[in-house]
Assembly symmetry: C2
Homo-oligomer: 234 residues x 2
């Protein structure tokens, strides 16, 4: 084998890795984008059933923020030479199914769903982002640093729960169901599309399972903290 | 009556006129704001039933634009010392009732509803704005100059209607119903809240009726042009 062939083969391997990495990012952004698009639609549909105009505006603003995040991701995918609609394709059915399984019965359940899901997604994507290049990490953190949103949701839920033990026990139950469904769905996406697997350096199945378990342990623990912040049992 | 009393009384009259004018603006902005808020919620709820992801994104963007118009009006009301929620109050029931009476049966009817209603509102508020101060006129025109929106709706409806005579006859009927309901509702708002009446210089009921009739003739004529642009009978 002469020097030139060797070079070409090394370049080929490098190109294959780069190609694989860029496909992985497309998958990751596709899942994020569709999650945000559907959160936007669900939130803004639910807004109409808010108890007061103030609440309607607040939910409307949260919904619009989701759409703006979607647009950020879509622009990023486009600038990377991808197509956001194609990228979302593989995630449409599972995210729709998740929403069908977790239809809020009223406005308070909508609020709780957003409180739980926004945080679980944020945690999940930020975990994933630590394994990625700095540009991608910056984008993910930019999108998921919406502290104001959580602050509003927390305050609004606190005021609704104060002196309403029946609502508290209903929302505690609802929170447990939501996080169960959310973690199941996220784990499926991680494994099925191999998003998490492809990020780890080797193909050791046991190591992959262990890493995913660690991530999910942290997600579950953070969820408990957030439920505790509402004085609800996770 | 000494000079001072005379001045005070002139100032008083002036203050009363200014007060009346500012209340009129609050009503006008309240109606606009609630119209936009509810258009946002309806559009984004309907987006989910779009035939393709491209259509969902397009409807999502239209919805977000409505919310941004709402925010512009809300900020303006706040800067003028008013409260947008209070300003919207008197219009909630009638605008909700309008939406209940005109529920689209599918995505194409949603599209048509937005095509018709966006244009009728734009025409109506721009007519009204010609009677107002230049600041208010600028704001109304800024909000209602969304040419891009109409262009998308027109193109999308044209492509849906091409070679589909059944859809064409259904949407022609739907367009007639919508504009009928819209003009009835708008006329009610104009008369009940006296928005148009308070703008005219005198209290001559006949002149008021004549002016309102002229405005509605123009609205109807513009609607016909837009239906013709889709080769539909208005």
């Amino acid at each position: 084998m002469d020097k030139r062939t060797e070079d070409t083969s090394a370049e080929g391997a490098l190109a294959a890795v780069a190609h694989d990495y860029s496909r992985l990012l497309i998958d990751l952004f596709g899942a994020m984008a569709y999650g945000e698009l559907s959160a936007f639609e669900r939130l803004s549909s639910d807004a109409r059933f808010s108890p007061t105009l103030t609440d309607r505006l607040a939910l409307g603003r949260l919904a619009v923020a989701e759409f703006q995040h979607f647009e950020l991701v879509a622009t990023h995918v486009q600038n990377s030479g991808g197509d956001v609609e194609q990228a979302m394709g593989p995630f449409v059915a599972s995210i729709n199914a998740f929403h069908e399984r977790t239809k809020p019965a009223d406005w308070y359940e909508s609020l709780m769903k957003h409180y739980v899901m926004d945080a679980v997604s944020r945690d999940f994507y930020c975990e994933i982002a630590t394994l990625l290049d700095s540009d991608t990490r910056d984008l993910v953190q930019q999108i998921h640093s919406a502290e104001t949103q959580s602050a509003y949701l927390l305050a609004r839920l606190e005021s609704a729960l104060a002196n309403d033990p029946r609502l508290a026990s209903r929302l505690a139950l609802w929170g447990r169901r939501l996080v169960g469904e959310a973690l199941t769905r996220t784990r499926q996406v991680s494994l099925e599309r191999g998003v998490v697997g492809r990020m780890l350096k080797d193909d050791d199945g046991a190591q992959l399972e262990a890493e995913i378990s660690r991530i999910f342990t942290r997600l579950t623990r953070n969820h408990s903290y957030r439920m505790n912040a509402l004085k609800l049992t996770a």
